[in-house]
Amino acid sequence: MLSYSSLQLTSPFNHRQTLLSSAPRRGITSNDSYASVLPCRPRASPSLISSLPPVARSLPENSPAATLVDEAEQGAALSLPSPLRRELLPSHVAIIMDGNSRWARARGLPSSLGHEAGYRALKKVVEHSHKWGIRGLTVFAFSTENWRRPKVEVDFLMMLFERVLKEDILELTKDGVRICLIGDSTELPKSLQNLSKEIIEATKNNTKLDLSVAISYSGRRDITQACKSIAEKVKHGLVEPEDITESLVAQELETNRILEFPYPDLLIRTSGELRLSNFLLWQSAYSELFFTDTYWPDFKEANYVEALASYQTRQRRFGQRI
């Protein structure tokens, strides 16, 4: 097997990292209590990687079980693009899907076609995440600030969300994807609210991938409603005021209540903007931020691999010394 070295450009102005491969760095799941996080291993040199012996098999080589295991491992290894290593993939990826309107404007098309193209890009990313074993994917579909957009565009987006949920529910259920919605659902049209409830119920037992769609979501509102939930608990005597800590606030956040991996390890924003725009403000404390100039409808497998490869090369210490 050919071994290859890694490239990493750490210039402050190149927000897109161009990499061929990554040296093995252990990915660390971000954790609210940073002191309990394990430190990163030092980066292994490429020559060390190539000289490592193959993993010993525990099953006899010719047994049927060994064959099945081999085939499964081979299948899993084959489905992962070459610079990525399964053990270094993030557990949870968050994406700010920005740039649909600008993509459409650049092509002289109406914004609605940009959003349709954005949906197709999302489908592909969900497919790749599912295939590569990423356990959580949170996408920022519509913020509270987006309600200020022209009514025509907002109405179109609401209709698009409904259509998408209706069309893809069977496929998602079959693929083991659990759909969750975060955000202020009271602002949504009644039909979309009812449909969301049906879909959440229909997919609640799926375990392969947690797909959270943030609609009418605001990071500040998320924190505010956590305070409200705690207030209700205090009122009912379930919690004492002196027990209100950072951990308790974190527990009451929307993501923490419904997701197995509530903190994104990697947060991607497309279209060249370099901000969070009120998305997962609390949860993104230790998230690797990856900003790319590509508009969301143009975000393809290669872009996703680039983001994941960039994540794999980062030395994430979470304040610990290595």
Binding site: Y34, R148, A231, L274, L289, R314, R316, G319
Partner: protein
């Protein structure tokens, strides 16, 4: 002789196949390394280009990076990796650069409170003000750590809830708590954890991560990763500020 000839003929095809597969492997390997070399060279050229540009900006030769128009920058935040923050000369140098560019309000942050311990104490002894905030002649410097972020929000929640419980018992209404974002902001201010929302945040460290900077303040903040503090240079800083000055935010509209 015939036997040797026969053996040679029998063995030849596999030997030839073996040799051609080795040659193919070498060719593929060479192509791979050639491709890798090309990408490495392109990468190096880009990096040198940025380095050169930063150096030229540092010398002051490029006019557009002089006299930066920072009207839309009311507050600049800087996140420093705690390990790198131990070297306070770098942070002091950064502050002096920012002062020369006429940045009026700076928020310094590191995860473990190293800056509070080092620079914060220096400021306190010089100006006799609080550890967190110091007003100097030209700019205000606020120094934060993890305890000012999420812990601050937890304390604000405690404050809000205590206030709600007191009001609720006085009214005897038994109403449900209805907190708003502005109430949380006011609570943060009441307990001394409110500060300006920075328009720009520069991250100095190995990871492109804001390391727990107070989440309430990050709503619309531009985040730029500047690389390691050890390798900071004035040109990169000027360029980041220049790029920010040209930004246009729609705020979701």
């Amino acid at each position: 002789m015939y036997l040797a000839h026969g053996i040679t003929r029998a063995l030849a095809p596999p030997v030839q196949k073996f040799q051609s597969s080795i040659i193919l492997k070498w060719i593929l390997g060479f192509c791979w390394y050639l491709l890798h070399l090309v990408v490495s060279l392109v990468d190096m050229v880009c990096f040198l280009n940025h380095l050169l540009l930063s150096s030229i900006i540092s010398t002051g030769l490029l006019r557009k990076y002089q006299n930066l128009k920072l009207n839309n920058l009311n507050c600049l935040a800087i996140v420093v990796d705690s390990e790198e923050a131990e070297d306070i000369t770098k942070t002091q140098k950064l502050l002096s650069w920012l002062s020369s560019i006429d940045v009026k309000c700076i928020t310094l942050y590191d995860l473990q409170g190293v800056l509070k311990r080092t620079i914060g104490n220096d400021f306190k002894s010089m100006t006799n003000t609080s550890l967190r905030e110091c007003k100097m002649s030209k700019m205000t410097v606020e120094i934060l750590s993890l305890s000012d972020g999420k812990e601050g929000i937890a304390k604000a929640a405690n404050f809000l809830i205590s206030k709600y419980m007191k009001d609720d018992s006085l009214r005897c209404n038994g109403t449900k708590p209805t907190f708003s974002e502005s109430q949380v902001s006011n609570a943060l201010e009441a307990i001394g954890y409110k500060g300006p929302d920075p328009e720009l945040l520069l991250v100095y460290g190995p990871a492109r991560c804001h390391l727990g900077f107070p989440p309430w303040r990050l709503r619309y903040t531009e985040i730029i990763h500047m690389g390691s503090l050890r390798f900071m240079n004035y040109g990169s800083l000027a360029r980041a500020l220049y790029d920010f000055s040209k930004k246009n935010q729609n705020y979701g509209k």
